[in-house]
């Protein structure tokens, strides 16, 4: 086993190798945390006072006590989100969300070699390599290419995907002259999923690099940002993990465009607000971040969770745990909320979004033992508990709804309303309004900020930005009950030990969601909405109106999800100037390059099996790329006349020939002695006679 070359240097300059050696705490940090806590406390106290007034008048029954406790807990969660956005708003009122980044290249030769790692699992191979090529080209243009190595870390189980990956790797290496700079590794046994994949890289090659930039299969980062991340790590040797805030791009369906709009408009508020109080105790989101490898390898191997449990022993959401371990070892985890040029893609449909939530749900619930484990810092425990509560809130809210229904069974008829006296009814409406205000006010603050800072044109203009935000809010309100239903189900399933399968995410939006699939997934919530509506109308008519927003969401879920999963609808809205984002209105170089690459891919689809077999580059490049059968098949296809070939091969050859013809059309006429196109039998006979 070799020692880290970098760790000796890091020890020499007095940086932590042991627990508890942290740098001086910034003076403002405690003040920020106090302000954050006080605001949350005040808001929760205010809401709890309203609620207390309601229940105290009714008398403190067990049901009321339970409802009071649950409401206060849920409201605290809402208040945390609001407080982050509020402080983010205050900070961003004085500065641009993305100040210009440094552009000097004088120190480039001093930058250490950094590994850019890209774990893949049965992904759309063409898209993954298109992004990789864009990043490689961007680094080359910036002159920083020599300071970065790329690693494609494949855990793919589909053998055709593995073949495609090797083929694309071979082509990319040839096209960008990436030998000994772009690497590919496939694990036959994908142990411990993504975290195991990264750990495997660390064990094999981790000690050859000081930093690792961790990407996801749909990640894209600009050269400026990649270099800026390394620079910042070099400037501050206390940082163990530096996380960027990725912006969503390339959304085609209405759902993905809606998400990228909200991430672009509201995201900076929440990220800046989180940074305001977290500072050096921020979190790791698993991708689009730079990691100092020496402490990561030394301290961040994932521990087993205590004993066997229904939710599994190996942490699935590894990122939170790795950040926690890094903090425990005394290193900083920071959020670079001021860096642009970090991108990801969002799920194209609500179903894909829910699939991802299912994995995250089980992963976050697993953090419960870690939240109480020894040695972690209070903010780390908060991160764990906040992550757990982001999913646990749904079953708790469902419980509140159920208890509310039970409480109102047999109460006064519709004419008297939910509360018998007008004063209490007013308090109830006030409380509801206050909660809603905290939920939607951050969005209006973000709108106000964009208008005030003159950023509306980045979202298509003031009116279109406002219209997009209102539409987004409407869809979010309608879909909130759907997420409530599924998150509650996920929590229940996870606790019952029903395992989450690790499916590859469908990241592109090529196929719209069909009615049948939507009906299959959302049929039960629709029936639930119908039943809940009928039962509450019949038994507790006063409660019906309180439940109506939720019932409505369940009832419209099928048509709504089908409608917003349509790429054509997304395109129409884009043309109408709705849900535009800054990276679309004025796309940066790398986003433009990616679009071009994706456009080429649409015209020339992925290398599939036949294309892979006849590819001469793959055939001649390396025996490690292809199997013997493919080699034989390759030769066989090329030496067989078209009439004797199966249509699939004929088609593939025709595609290559078309490319050759296009070369000729462009004037690249091939002339060599003996080359001739025989136009007639006489031509041929003349040629025969002349030989």
């Amino acid at each position: 086993m070799n020692e880290f070359p970098s760790s000796a240097g890091e020890r020499a300059i007095g940086f932590p190798g042991v627990v508890g050696q942290v740098g001086p705490v910034p003076q403002t940090r405690d003040q920020h945390r106090w302000a954050f806590t006080v605001l949350i406390g005040l808001l929760t106290l205010l809401a709890a006072t309203f609620e207390w007034g309601l229940f105290a008048a009714e008398g403190w029954t067990l049901l009321n006590l339970l409802l009071f406790g649950l409401f206060t807990l849920l409201f605290t969660y809402v208040a945390i989100g609001f407080a982050q956005a509020f402080f983010g708003f205050l900070i961003l009122s004085d500065r641009h969300p993305y100040p210009a980044t440094e552009a000097s290249n004088e120190d480039l030769p001093l930058l250490p070699l950094t590994a850019i790692v890209l774990p893949v699992y049965n992904e759309d191979v063409g898209a993954v390599f298109a992004r990789l090529q864009v990043m490689s080209d961007a680094l080359k243009s910036s002159g920083a290419l020599d300071h970065f190595h790329f690693f494609i870390l494949s855990d793919s189980t589909d053998q055709e995907k593995v073949f495609e990956e090797k083929l694309y790797w071979g082509r990319l290496v040839t096209e960008v002259d990436g030998a000994n700079r772009i690497f590919y590794r496939h694990r036959k046994l994908p142990l411990n999923r993504k975290s195991g994949n990264i750990a495997d890289f660390c064990r094999r090659w981790g000690n050859q690099y000081r930093y690792m930039i961790c990407l996801d299969a749909d990640s894209l980062m600009s050269a400026t940002t990649l270099v800026a991340l390394v620079r910042r790590m070099e400037d501050s040797h206390r940082i163990g993990i530096l996380q960027t805030v990725p912006q969503a791009i390339n959304g085609r369906t209405i759902w993905s465009r809606l998400q990228q709009f909200s991430m672009s408009l509201y995201g900076p508020l929440f990220a800046t607000g989180a940074n305001f109080w977290q500072q050096e105790e921020s979190n790791f989101w698993g991708h689009n971040a730079i990691i100092r490898l020496a402490p990561f390898i030394q301290h961040c191997a994932l521990p087993d969770l205590p004993r066997r449990s229904a939710i599994g022993r190996r942490p699935m959401s590894h990122d939170f745990v790795e950040a926690a371990l890094m903090r425990r070892a005394g290193w900083e985890v920071r959020l670079a909320d001021d860096l642009r040029g970090s991108y990801e893609e969002t799920p194209p449909t609500v179903i894909e979004h829910l699939k991802r939530d299912r994995r995250w749900c089980q992963g976050n619930l697993q953090h419960w033992p870690l939240a109480l484990a020894r040695g972690f810092r209070p903010v780390t425990r908060f991160h764990f508990l906040h992550g757990i509560f982001s999913f646990l809130a749904s079953p708790l809210l469902a419980l509140v709804l159920l208890l509310g229904f039970l409480k109102n069974l047999g109460t006064s008829p519709l004419s008297e309303g939910l509360y018998a006296d007008a004063a209490r009814a007013h308090i109830a409406i006030l409380l509801f309004g206050f909660t809603m205000l905290l939920l939607v006010l951050p969005k209006f603050l973000a709108l106000a900020l964009a208008l005030r800072r003159g950023r509306a044109h980045e979202f298509g203009g003031a009116w279109k930005m406002i219209a997009s935000a209102l539409l987004e809010m409407a869809v979010s309100i309608l879909l909130a009950p759907v997420f409530l239903y599924f998150h509650a189900k996920f929590v229940l399933f996870s606790l019952l030990g029903k395992n989450v399968e690790w499916h590859a995410q469908r990241r592109n939006s090529g196929d719209a969601l069909d009615w049948r699939e939507a009906g299959k997934v959302f049929g039960l919530p629709t029936l639930l909405g119908l039943a809940a509506g009928l039962v509450t109308w019949w038994l507790t008519p006063a409660y019906f109106f309180w439940l109506l927003p939720i019932v409505l969401g369940w009832l419209v879920v099928i048509p709504l999800t089908v409608c917003i999963a349509d790429p054509r609808g997304g395109l129409q809205l884009q043309k109408a100037g709705l849900f535009l984002v800054p990276d679309e209105v004025a796309p940066p170089t790398e986003v433009r390059a990616l679009r071009r690459a994706v456009g080429v891919r649409v015209r020339h689809p992925n290398i599939d099996l036949p294309a892979g077999v006849i590819d001469p580059v793959a055939y001649r490049q390396s025996t490690s790329l292809t199997t013997n059968e493919r080699f034989r098949l390759h030769r066989q296809v090329w030496t067989t006349p078209a009439t004797n070939l199966a249509p699939v091969w004929r088609q593939e050859l025709a595609r290559l020939e078309m490319r050759a013809v296009s070369h000729e059309v462009r004037g690249e006429i091939v002339a060599y002695p003996g080359r001739q196109r025989f136009r007639s039998r006489q031509d041929f006979e003349r040629a025969e006679a002349s030989e």
Binding site: A179, I614, P616, W638, A642, R659, A660, Y672, G674
Partner: protein, 117 residues
């Protein structure tokens, strides 16, 4: 001769030429001087072979000739990964006092051990 022409005539030889050009273009991206020489040699060799294997299709003859003439890949194969320098990445001890205490308190054995601690 007539047999050859009638069974493998104009169209077939055109197809064979096109196939060889397509192959080289797919291999090198374009057709350079070396490729032209290769094509000439492959066509000449195929015509010579035709006399001996009169039943073989020109596509087969030309492509087989081309495969024989193509120089073997002399450059060292591109390394898929850099050389390994293994390091250990072992989890540090993490204690769960709350869970341990709860287990001791209630002696919970909800999930029987699978023999692995």
């Amino acid at each position: 001769m007539n047999q050859t022409i009638s069974s493998h005539g104009v169209r077939e030889w055109n197809e064979a030429q096109r196939r060889a050009e397509t192959y080289l273009r797919a291999l090198h991206g374009t057709i350079g001087p070396a490729d032209r020489t290769l094509l000439v040699d492959a066509l000449a060799k195929a015509r010579r072979l035709r006399g001996r294997e009169s039943s073989a299709h020109p596509v087969t003859l030309v492509m087989e000739s081309l495969f024989d003439l193509l120089p073997p890949e002399t450059a060292a194969p591109v390394a898929m990964t850099p050389p390994m320098q293994r390091v250990a990445m072992i989890p540090e001890k993490t204690e769960f006092p709350f869970h341990d205490a709860m287990r001791r308190l209630f002696n919970l054995k909800l999930f029987p051990s699978a023999g692995v601690q």
